[in-house]
Structure formats: structure tokens, C-alpha cells
Amino acid sequence: MSAKHVHHQIEALQQQVASLRSALTSSTQGQGGLPLDLLDALQVSLQELYSSEGELHQQHDDLVVVYQQAEAVLRDSEARTRAILQTAVDAIITIDTGGLIESFNPAAERLFGYTADEVLGQNISMLMPSPYREEHDGYLARYLQTGDPHIIGIGREVCARRRDGTTFPVSLAVSEVHLAGRRIFTGIVHDLTARVQAEEALRRSRDELEVRVQERTAELTAANEEIKRFAYIVSHDLRAPLINLEGFASELRIACDVLQAALPAALPYLEAPQRADVSRVLDQDIPEALGFIETSVTRMDHLIRAILHLSRLGRRDLHLEPLDMQALVQETLQTLAHQLAQRQVQVTVQPLPTVVADRIAMEQIMGNLLANAVAYLTPGRPGEIVVTGERRPDVTVLHVCDNGRGIAAEDIPRIFEPFRRVGRQDVPGEGMGLAYVQMLVRRHGGDIRCHSTLGVGTTFTFTIAHQLAEGEAHAG
């Protein structure tokens, strides 16, 4: 039902009235009876018109309801949007293209210390410290001209200014709103004061920690240097008496020889028991005593040399170069070729990463570990040695794994001690190999660990740092 329809009906009605008029006019002139059918038609049309009118009313009422509903929805939506702005934690400010503040939410009031009334209509630059305050109008004008956003749609950390003149760091996100016929800019301002303070505190405590770590490292390095020097001095100074021991043991032997040479001539002049005693002393007692002295001296000599060597390993300058570990391990295996063949040992070398290290040191490390793996096999079980390695962010890790006799759990810490050996002592050695290896690995900023199961096998794992701590390459 529409107004147009009603209009047509009224037109139709008018025509009918016109017809009636002409009919009545002809009737009063005596031509024919009353136009009853026309009156009927008129009646019907009037009825139809009434019901149309009724429908229009209904439509109008319906429209009013719809309108009211729409209004309610709009109000509700407005209220929600307003509530969002009112309750937002961050400051939300809108400005027009002239930089004048159009809206200023409660969070903005709290953040900047102004009431909305105090700022509405003012230039947004009042909330900025110099020099931004003076530059803002220019920025805005340039953006309006070029459309080239520096902050709009991007967001940035800037400095803001409160009513009391103090400045504070904020994160600012600006978006552009196109309304009918005009543009406004919405800025969301988030206070960064707390975050900046936390960052400062973190930086300070990290610096403090750095200093303390460096102090501690210096202390440790100094202590370490002292120990190394001590080991060097001690083993060096222990040599001197050794020379005397050896030298005079030799002199004694010479003196004995002199006596022995004279003995045959002198013996007949001695009484029987004395003769036997003198013979025994010269033939057995003295040589035996000298023998023990010499053995002990040799042992001491070995020990001192080993300590000296160990201390030198800790002092020698490292010459770092990239090493093809694959090739180095193969060369080392060559030197063990005889033992490998003799004991029918199978060696598998997986692809190994390149390592930056001192060549001689690495040869010694791998040499020791592989020699141990070959030496401490289990009889009756074909030997298998596997060498693997992988590169990690800070270090390169290398593993030497064997299926030999293994090491008891309680013995594992002791194997790295100088002069200590564990397990069945059927393999020649001084107990220094792993002490050297540990020293060399530590010089490279790494460490060595041993995992083992008695009767099953042993794996040695060591690491080499990619970057040595300052001063590590040149020691003592």
C-alpha cells in the first residue's frame, strides 16, 4: 500500500464523481432514471479508499516502531562507544585537520592533568614538549599535503608533556578517520614511564652483574695463574735434588766397583763371618739399595716431568686455526693403525664439523681419547669406536664412543686426576693422558665429560667454544 495507490484511487473517485454529475445533469433533464449503479460504484470506491487509508495508518505506525527501534539501537551503540572511550585505560584524543582537539577521554585527563574542557578546541601541540611542540603544525600540514605518513598508521615512541610541565615517555598510535566531508585523527597514547623505568633498572642491575662477573673472573684467572706458576716452580725446583740423587747414586756405584775390584785381594785377610758379610754387602746389599734409589728417582723424574708438562700445557700460547676435524681424526687413526689392525677394531667417523682450535692441542686430545678407546677394549668382543660431532650455537661438541670394558660410576671423577688410573691395571700408562686432555679442552673454553657403563662401553664428550674468552689464547 502506498501513497501512489491512494492517489490513483482518489483520481478514480473523481472520475466517478464527474460521471455521476453528468449522469445527474442528464437525469434532471428528464433523460433516464436515477444513476443507482454509479452510486454503488462510488460507494465501493469510498470503501476501498477507507481501507487504503487504514493501511497507510498501519504502515505509519509500523514505521514509527521501526524508527524507534533504530533510534534505540543507535543510542545503545553510541552509549557503548562512549563507554569504551570513557573507560579506556589509555588516553584517546581526536583532533581535526587543524590540529585542534575535538575529544579528550577521561584517561587523557588523568594522564595529562587537564580536564577535557581545558583542552577542547586547543592545539594538540600543548601536550608536547619543545621542540616537537613547535614542529607539530608543520608535520600535520605536510601530511595533509603529501599524504606521506610518518606516524599516522605507524605508531612511535615520543615524549609528552603534562600540565605541570614535566615530560614523560609515551607510545603514540595515530589513525585517520574519514567522515562525510571531513577528516579527523585519533591518537591513542600509552604511558611508557613504568616500562622505561623497569628497563633502566634492568640495565643497571645487568651492568652491576657484568662488573661483578668480571671481577670474579679476574680473581679466578689470577688464582689460576698462581697455581700454574706454582706448579711450574715446584716441578722445576724439584729437579735440582733429583740430579744429586741420581748423581751420587752413580758415584756410589763407581765407589762400589772400586771396592769390588780390590775385594779378591783383600778377602783372604778377613775372618770367615766377616768375609761373608763384606761379600754380601758389596755383591747384594749395596747394589740392591742403589737399585731402589734409582727406581724411585726415575719415578720422581716421571712425575715431575708430567706436572711440568701439564703446567706448560696450561701456559703455552694457543694458535687458533680452523681445523678439518674429519682429516685430523683420520690422521690420528693412521698413527694407531697397527693397534687397530691387531685388535680388529672397527672405527666409524661420522661427518664432523670444522672447529677453530689449536692444531697441536686437538691432535693431542683426539690422540689420547682414541688411544684410550683402543687400549681399554674388552677381550672377546670385537672393538667398535664411533666418532661423532655436532655444532651448537655456542660450542662444537665431539664424542668418542667405544664398546670397551667401561668405567665404574664411582671411578669416573677420578680418571681426570693426574697420576690416577682406575680399573684393571693391565695396560701400560702413567695416568696422565686424560689430565692433559682436560687441561687442553679447558684452555679452549670447553669441558669434557665421561659416560660409561661397566662391561658395556664408554663415551667421552668434549666441547670447544666457538669464541674464546679474552686472554684465553695467550696464557701465563
Partner: protein
């Protein structure tokens, strides 16, 4: 030393055991010169300059010095430096015989004026051999007679 056997070997060594072993092995190498053994640096200088306990002494300064560096009461460096700084003694050949094997220290001794630097071998066998060779060497060395 071929020139008269009046050259005295002055052995400055604080370890009495080493001193004795050196002496005995030099003798075995057929060195027959007088060997004087002193145990510290101060005594060595007193002997050389005839001071203090050696004031008024009449021994010859036709000397060959066998000098250890690790001495009490003035170390070997100081003895060497003093000796070479004085006109009366700077002609005396000095053979350093010490446990040190540090290249820097060796250079330092040569710079101070020593004639020869020998590192005492740490094993006795080599030590003994070195002294014998030293003896052989000394047997062909010419020493200035001194004033």
C-alpha cells in the same frame, strides 16, 4: 786450558751436591786446574774484588767463572753485571751453568756479557755428559792471564 795450569776455575754454585758432581766430572774429563767452589753471589764478588773475607787475599785473577744464576745473596745476573762493569775483572770469561732454559733470560745473560750459556740438563746422565763435554771444551780454551 793449555796456557799454564795456573788458571783457576771459580765455580759459583749454591747446591753443594751439584757443585761436587760438577767438580768430580770435570776431574774425570782430565781437568787438573784448581777449582774453587763458592756458595753465594756476595762471596763470589768478594773473592773477585778481594773484599771483606777476601780482603788482602793473593789469589790469581786468571780465572774462568762457572756461574749458576739461582744464588742466594745476590743472584748470578748481578754477579755477571758487576764483573763485566769493572776493568779489573771484565776480561774473565763467564760460563753460565744453570737450570734456566727461558729464551728471554738467556738473551739477557748474553747481553750482560757472558761468554757461554749452558742449561743444566735435568737428567743426571745428560748432566754428567754435559760437564764432561765442558771439560773437553775447556781443555782447548785460551784464558787471558789477568793482572
Amino acid at each position: 786450558m793449555p796456557a799454564e795450569e795456573s788458571v783457576t776455575i771459580l765455580l759459583v754454585e749454591d747446591d753443594p751436591g751439584h757443585a761436587r758432581l760438577i767438580e768430580r766430572n770435570l776431574r774425570r774429563a782430565h781437568i787438573t786446574n784448581e777449582i774453587v767452589i763458592l756458595g753465594d753471589g756476595q762471596q763470589a764478588l768478594d773473592y773477585l774484588f778481594k773484599e771483606r773475607t777476601y780482603a788482602g787475599a793473593t789469589h790469581t785473577l786468571s780465572l774462568l767463572l762457572l756461574l749458576d744464576l739461582n744464588l742466594p745473596q745476590l743472584d748470578g745476573y748481578q754477579v755477571l753485571a758487576c764483573l763485566k762493569a769493572d776493568a779489573r775483572t771484565k776480561h774473565i770469561p763467564v760460563i753460565i751453568l744453570t737450570t734456566m732454559d727461558d729464551a728471554y733470560e738467556i738473551e739477557r745473560c748474553y747481553a750482560l756479557g757472558c761468554s757461554v750459556f749452558i742449561t743444566k740438563p735435568i737428567a743426571y746422565k745428560q748432566f754428567e755428559e754435559a760437564i764432561r763435554k765442558l771439560g773437553l771444551f775447556l781443555s782447548i780454551v785460551q784464558i787471558p792471564p789477568g793482572k
